[in-house]
Point group: C2
Chain length 403, copies 2
């Protein structure tokens, strides 16, 4: 008998028909002899609707009351799912984040799980019931309801799977798995059947939207195997697990892209110790989330530093950079919000040194100029013009033979 955690996102429970389909699938899983723990998100656009409603009543700020409001969403979907399971003669019990023992810090709107006290879930399983747990939510030490922020339900599922020692954590969504590129950009993109945690981390960090970075990190840290699957077709999806030695690794698994950032360049920065530190400390103090940083070797005692930040943080970043430039003796500050980052990810890149050259050649042949480059051991990212992003993804996917 296996213990399976299944997480259903908002599109998987968007309406009564979808909820009934999910209940059918859970019933099948139970009848196959598994112990089952379900994590469920709010139905469809419920969370957005509640935020909009809050905006009509007040100036909603992240905090205790917004969390109280938003947690109504999972309460509705989990209760409905348990009723549908009841109709299928599957015993179940819904549990709020608090009832399920998801203990968090008190950072409302972006709480972190600090402990899982899964007694009630274990009791439910012992009693032969499916435990249906509200994703995205927890309770702080002061008994206030909290939400986990973006990717929260995935994180709930992985945390429960880790705590319970589940055999697998299945993440159901509206796509059949992780693809070699966004199928809307690259029609012949291929579903990847298996990825290492490290590859999935790089894919998530470089623009892949199927899984939130934090849930993949948590899964890696606790060795929880994940499977991303479709709740519309129920076919096998993408398994994300420890890198296995016996398996030959694809050099490149996926091409990803991300147009959410803007670029800032500070020119004529004196090439002296501590200059970069003072700039990025100032940005960090303003909570600006800097992503890529590129600094070239200096010529004539000065250098250019470029970095990317979320577009929402661009104005603040420019303010910081411009006020600091005269202090550190730098030249001008420029920015460009019409950029995109295109990345290739693959565990095999570690042992195949020619991949970067291939990427640059492909982009060159397509007439696409590279503005910045950054690398990790299994990822290679180039900043290009936003208008050329899709073409870059298509060219790389084709030339690297991923279709």
């Amino acid at each position: 008998m296996a213990l399976v955690v299944q997480k259903f996102g908002g599109t998987s429970v968007a309406d009564p028909e979808r909820i009934k389909a999910v209940a059918d699938h859970i019933a099948r899983t139970v009848r196959d002899g598994n112990e089952v723990v379900i994590v469920v998100s709010a139905m469809g656009r419920t969370t957005d609707d509640l935020i909009r409603l809050a905006g009509e009543v007040a100036s909603p700020r992240p905090g205790r009351e917004l969390d109280m409001l938003l947690t109504a969403g999972e309460r509705i979907s989990m209760a409905l799912l348990c009723m549908a399971l009841g109709d299928r003669e599957v015993a179940s019990i819904s549990l709020t984040g608090s009832q399920a023992g998801i203990i968090t810090d008190s950072a409302h709107g972006k709480a972190k799980i600090v402990e899982v006290k899964a007694n009630r879930i274990r009791d439910a399983l012992r009693a032969g019931k499916v435990a249906v747990v509200a994703g995205f939510q927890g309770v702080s030490g002061s008994h206030d309801v909290t939400t986990l922020g973006r990717g929260g339900s995935d994180t709930t599922a992985v945390a429960l799977a880790a705590e319970l020692g589940a055999d697998c954590c299945e993440i159901y969504t509206d796509v059949p798995g992780v693809f070699s590129a966004d199928p809307q950009v690259v029609p012949d993109a291929r579903r990847i059947s298996r990825l290492s945690f490290e590859e999935m981390l790089e894919i998530a960090a470089s623009g892949g939207r199927v899984l939130a970075l934090r849930s993949v990190e948590l899964a890696r840290n606790h060795g929880v195997p994940l499977e991303v699957r479709s709740s519309f077709t129920w076919e096998p999806g993408t398994i994300i697990d420890k890198e296995s030695a016996e398996m030959e690794q694809a050099i490149v698994s996926a091409v990803t892209s991300d147009a959410s950032e803007a670029k800032v360049t500070v020119t004529g920065v004196p090439d002296k110790p501590g200059i970069a530190a003072s700039l990025f400390r100032a940005l960090a103090d303003r909570s600006v989330n800097v992503d890529m940083i590129v600094q070239n070797t200096s010529t004539e005692g000065a250098t250019d530093i470029s970095f990317t930040v979320p577009k929402d943080d661009l104005d603040e970043s420019l303010e910081v950079a411009m006020s600091l430039a005269p202090v550190i003796g730098a030249g001008s500050v420029r920015s460009d919000s019409e950029i995109a980052r295109v990345s290739i990810v693959g565990a095999g890149m570690k042992t195949n040194p020619g991949v970067s050259a291939t990427m640059f050649e492909v982009l060159a042949r397509a007439g696409i100029n590279i503005e910045m480059i950054s690398t990790s051991s299994i990822r290679l990212s180039c900043v290009v013009k936003e208008s050329e992003m899709e073409r870059a993804v298509q060219a790389l996917h084709k030339e690297l033979g991923l279709g």
Copy 2:
């Protein structure tokens, strides 16, 4: 400094504009120097919408999961109200039934409050905050969320007012108070400025829909003065309090009506001890809620017994009566669902023996036949044809000079 409990029903918080108006009123109450505890219902039709949604997913039965679903409603309204209070610089904290310490039995869908552990509310008041509590909901000893059923939010408000020793419990609704008759039936019906608990109990029990019977009972038992007021005009409403000796009492305060019941008559019942008991025990065993019972003095060793039951229970009642009639040696069983009960209520009736005669004369002059009569010390009810109900109310209201 007074401690005030204010309860706002669904129509009072039906949309963002109403919520903001309520927040303005609470802010005024706080600035007038009061300590304030708020009890809030779900917005408008939220509860009905959730029940409809449940019906699209499953066959919803009262129970743990339906309660989990429905309690999402107050969670939304109370969080929004706290956000609106925040915009008005009024410190507040929302509390679910569980957080507010509303401990109930485990009868899901119709739970009874067994204890109020108001520590968190007292903490909030000590910290200078308005406590905004979810009405209608509580938590059972086994940590499951429960709902209190019909009139639940009023009951929450009165229970909190009793536990906290509040100076007043204000029930805000969409009408300006309790009226001498339904203003839709009697256009010149008058708002009653003051009622005793006993009068309000009789009004609630005989068809007045402004306050639920159980909340009035709780208020009487704990001596909590109530005021029913409009959240649309904010003008003074109807105060419900202990009967005061100094006040001259109106003989008749209100005319009420109720068309929700049906009449069952068992004819030729042998006039022997235990016969009535066997009939009404059988009905009670099927959980049929019998209201009026009338038995005439017997003629020739047999009598007729008539009783009224909710229309929903008529089929079951007929089944019971028909299967029992041959056993107890009774004659036929007849029923009529086209009936209505018209009542007059007034504390002064106790000391004015002529009131019943007046009522019968008024109905006779209007050509309205009386089918059954029942009385309490401060109420007099007549069953008439449903089609004559409104005319009976209008005639009584006019002839008794209540306008």
